[in-house]
């Protein structure tokens, strides 16, 4: 039988007591290895909060980009209100907070061996995995719209080079041109995003090319914050923006990037600039591991966001099927915190912290004209549903809309600090 000396035992007990005084509740979680894939709103938040809730965890964040460019506010770059620098964030704050950041892409997940393989050739073993892979554009879904076509007809639905391509095309367009925005059916990343984009492009055109038009061709019959957007468009841009719902000829069935036309059931529409926001799926790494259902999105237990396909994997953000929660940065941030609590509670043998979720999403109609939707979500017998909330009221004075625009900026400043430190 192994003997332990009085001195070594006292030292060990002292260390345990010291640790429990400094950081209550770390005992079982100490040293557990948590791998987080994806350094966006879900992944960066999860990594940061895991480390904050239990400083003894070994948290590794795997992200191929050196810097993260936010999709939120990328429409403001198109409108000329922000620069790319304004929406670009580094990972130094996470590193300084004790998260190990590996610049690589996760190429494969072996859930039974609990190991990731990275693009760098390295293998990363883990005890728990948090997946926040975001979206992939489903290039097969809309005939004529593939990766090559996107170089002529940008999607700009992942912020970065595509955002700048669309911006350059708008700048090169002659006054009097028509900008077509093609919107997909639900579900997709950022439900009000296409309409904020139309607003920000209208702001640019109103200033620089006032004879131009924007035509939104929508697969849907209605859209997020519709009454607020339409009230704002009328007030600020007159008849510059036209929205066609699916049944009125809005549903696009094919794209011809060479001819700069899109096909609808009512005939072809020609644009000087065309922005196609195609249908989407969960990011490749989640689908390849078998975590997605045939729809392309990942099923999770909405109490914890634990994958229904694998108990050691948690999936947050756009990739997850999250009941009534929209695919937004705020949702991903909110879900990531529930996951961090669930993992830390589980590793420490604590009673689970009850889940609660929120989403607040601001859109900008014009520089001092903001609108919002805000909801509290809970798990009920009906699943993960909104229990309270809704959109901001229409018919408000300029002061109210200006306040919402200011708070939208405040939200951006806070959430990026919350993610990146």
């Amino acid at each position: 039988m192994t003997r332990i000396t009085r001195r070594s035992f006292t030292a060990m007990a002292g260390a345990a007591a010291g640790a429990s005084l400094a950081m209550p509740g770390i005992a079982f979680g100490a040293g557990a290895r948590i791998a987080v894939i994806g350094g966006g709103f879900g992944g960066a938040t999860a990594a940061r909060y895991l480390k904050r809730l239990d400083p003894n965890l070994n948290v590794t964040l795997i992200e191929p980009s050196a810097k993260f460019i936010t999709c939120p506010f990328s429409n403001l770059v198109l409108g000329g209100l922000k620069t790319m620098d304004d929406i670009t964030h580094g990972y130094d704050g996470l590193t300084n907070g004790g998260v190990r950041v590996i610049r690589a892409s996760a190429q494969g997940i072996d859930p039974s061996a609990k190991r990731l393989s990275l693009s760098t050739g390295t293998a990363v073993p883990y005890d728990k995995l948090v997946l926040s892979p975001g979206i992939d554009l489903n290039f097969g879904a809309l005939p004529g719209y593939d990766q090559a076509a996107a170089e002529k007809v940008p999607h700009a639905w992942k912020a970065g080079a595509q955002t700048l391509l669309l911006k350059r095309q708008l700048e090169a367009m002659a006054d009097g041109g028509t900008v077509i925005i093609v919107c997909p059916d639900n579900p997709y990343r950022c439900p009000p995003g296409p309409y904020e984009r139309a607003s920000m492009i209208a702001h640019y055109l109103k200033t620089k090319k006032p004879k131009s038009k924007i035509l939104i061709l929508d697969a849907k019959e209605s859209f997020s914050k519709q009454a607020l957007f339409q009230e704002g468009w009328q007030a600020v841009y007159g008849s510059m923006i036209e929205w066609l719902p699916g049944k009125a000829g809005g549903k696009v069935t094919a794209v011809d990037a060479k001819a700069m036309t899109v096909k609808t059931e009512f005939g072809d529409q020609k644009g000087a600039v065309i922005n196609v926001i195609p249908p989407q799926t969960a990011g490749e790494v989640a689908r390849a591991a078998g975590f997605a259902e045939p729809s392309g999105w990942c099923t999770v237990d909405v109490n914890t966001f634990q994958s229904k396909a694998n108990a050691d994997t948690y999936i947050v953000g756009d990739a997850a099927i999250a009941g009534q929660m929209p695919k937004s940065g705020f949702s991903a941030n909110s879900q990531a915190k529930v996951v961090a609590l669930a993992i830390v509670d589980g590793l420490n043998g604590r009673k689970p912290t009850p889940p609660a979720f929120a989403n607040t999403c601001y859109s900008l109609v014009a520089p001092k004209y903001g609108i919002s939707v805000a909801n509290v979500y809970r798990v009920t017998e009906q699943g993960l549903v909104s229990v309270e909330g809704g959109v901001s009221p229409i018919g408000q004075p300029a002061q109210f809309r200006s306040q919402e625009a200011t708070y939208g900026q405040g939200w951006y400043d806070s959430i990026t600090m919350d993610m990146f430190g």
Partner: protein
Amino acid sequence: MTRRSHLMLLMCSVGLVIASPSEAQNGPTALALSCAACHGTDGKSPGAIPILAGRPAKELKEALTGFKAGTRPATVMNRLAKGYTDQEIDALADYFSRRK
């Protein structure tokens, strides 16, 4: 000392840690953590949205109760606070009053 007695002692100390009332009562709720997306980490907003950290619990409770009842003007908080229970409002007020 045998390994078994050592392990038992260690497990006792672990048990104490788990039962620690301060952790159970003052650990952040999921709702409190969700506030950070607008109000900043620990309620320390860096921008236009009000700071929550370190404000008196009474003041925070009055504000949240007023938003919930619709008696206090707001752009967003009147919509969100309706989704909080009175018990959650107390816990949020207490939690943010303790952030320094």
